[in-house]
Point group: C2
Chain length 240, copies 2
């Protein structure tokens, strides 16, 4: 029996790939998702589908209401940007940045890791595609590991907590190729910031655009439906 | 107009004294409390009373459900210890320790500070009375400040976040004397881990025993009622 690992799962492409990586590395996966007042519920439904599919030991949903804190297009009444050029997306801090989100999420994961006796947390942060988010960088992960050493009972007793961020330096295309190698079904996942009421991805928000660019560059068909037409045959054949 | 400060408020003796200190230092106070599945609600009611009394700019209650994470007598079905000798209370990590609680709370405070444009967070942690809690020590506060520098937009832009822990090295008696100097009404506050249904403090849990010892040593009458008889006249006259 492998060691237990806590994997932060949003039901998205990145965290699902991370879950597959943790399993492939021999960890017994415990997934944790956050009900943080997202504007849509499709994310949590996807996280449950993914956890069920991977037969995790436990999937915990922690309610933490970030709406009172505000300040983000994902939780407050700020418009989600769409059709932004890649260049603009990669500059500065986007309006979808939720202040302190990853710190809050890692803290909660750290608490659960302590209770279940795990010293390994996996998170799907990525410094390439999300360069504008301060809490998606190697310096953040490293500072959090240092904090965990002094913040927890396990840390005080000498059991360092390791934060695994296996996607940190990977492009979206490489993440997708790694997932495909591991047999990940991306049809279970969900990324869109601004879906239709019945959960069809818009194809135009930053999250959809990054995801679609990844599949395009990997020359792999994204199995989820979009509100915009996409010529997958041309993409797979390298004509787009 | 002073700078804005976020003050973590539990409605207890320590955090209320910290609020008075922040005000005395000229900060405009914003209080934040957490609805984390405490076994009783008296704590949040006290936090509201205290915030109203101090005329804070805003009092935010953030729901964050730590019950799913479990592992503590404060949120799970573990007995709250009572009548423990001081010596035993000061050794090891008590069953009322909530894993990662202060990390989660400071993260949420950090998110709010970022939104309201504050670089100062006040927290009533204390390394003397709560030596058993890993996240109540100077090393924890210092590690969190370092994390904040890389975790936030403000930090990335060069505005360091300062975590003020003015009670860190103070005994409970000294905290009470400082509060009395600042005119704090401790009748508004609440500390008990195990109150009666109508909110009367038990006088026997660790929190009550620490609080009572503080008032006893400070020779000040605690204005809140207890389920056990206490001879305040003898205490104030130094006969107990």
């Amino acid at each position: 029996m492998g060691h237990k690992a806590v994997i932060l799962s949003s039901g998205g492409l990145d965290s699902t790939t991370v879950l597959a990586i943790a399993k492939a590395e021999g960890f017994v996966p415990y997934t944790i998702s956050f009900d943080y007042g997202q504007r849509h519920r499709h994310e949590l439904e996807a996280a449950k589908r993914v956890s069920d599919h991977f037969h995790v030991a436990q999937h915990l949903v922690v309610p933490v209401d970030l709406r009172g804190i505000g300040g983000s297009a994902l939780t407050a009444d700020i418009d989600v940007p769409r059709d932004r050029p890649m260049k603009e997306m990669s500059q500065g801090i986007p309006p979808t940045y939720v202040p302190a989100r990853n710190t809050v999420f890692l803290s909660l994961a750290m608490g659960w890791a302590e209770v279940i006796g795990s010293c390994d947390i996996f998170i799907g942060v990525n410094a390439i595609d999300y360069s504008g988010y301060p809490d998606c960088r190697p310096a953040f992960i490293s500072a959090f590991e240092k904090l965990a050493c002094v913040a927890t009972k396990a840390g005080v007793e000498g059991h360092a907590l390791r934060i695994h961020a296996p996607l940190m330096e990977m492009t979206k295309a490489r993440i997708i190729r790694r997932g495909v190698e591991l047999g990940v079904d991306y049809g279970l996942t969900f990324s869109c910031y601004n879906p239709s009421k019945d959960g069809i991805s818009c194809g135009r928000c930053d999250a959809c655009r990054l995801r679609l660019r990844g599949f395009r560059e990997a020359r792999v068909k994204d199995p989820i439906p979009y509100q915009i037409p996409i010529d997958w045959d041309a993409i797979i054949n390298g004509e787009q």
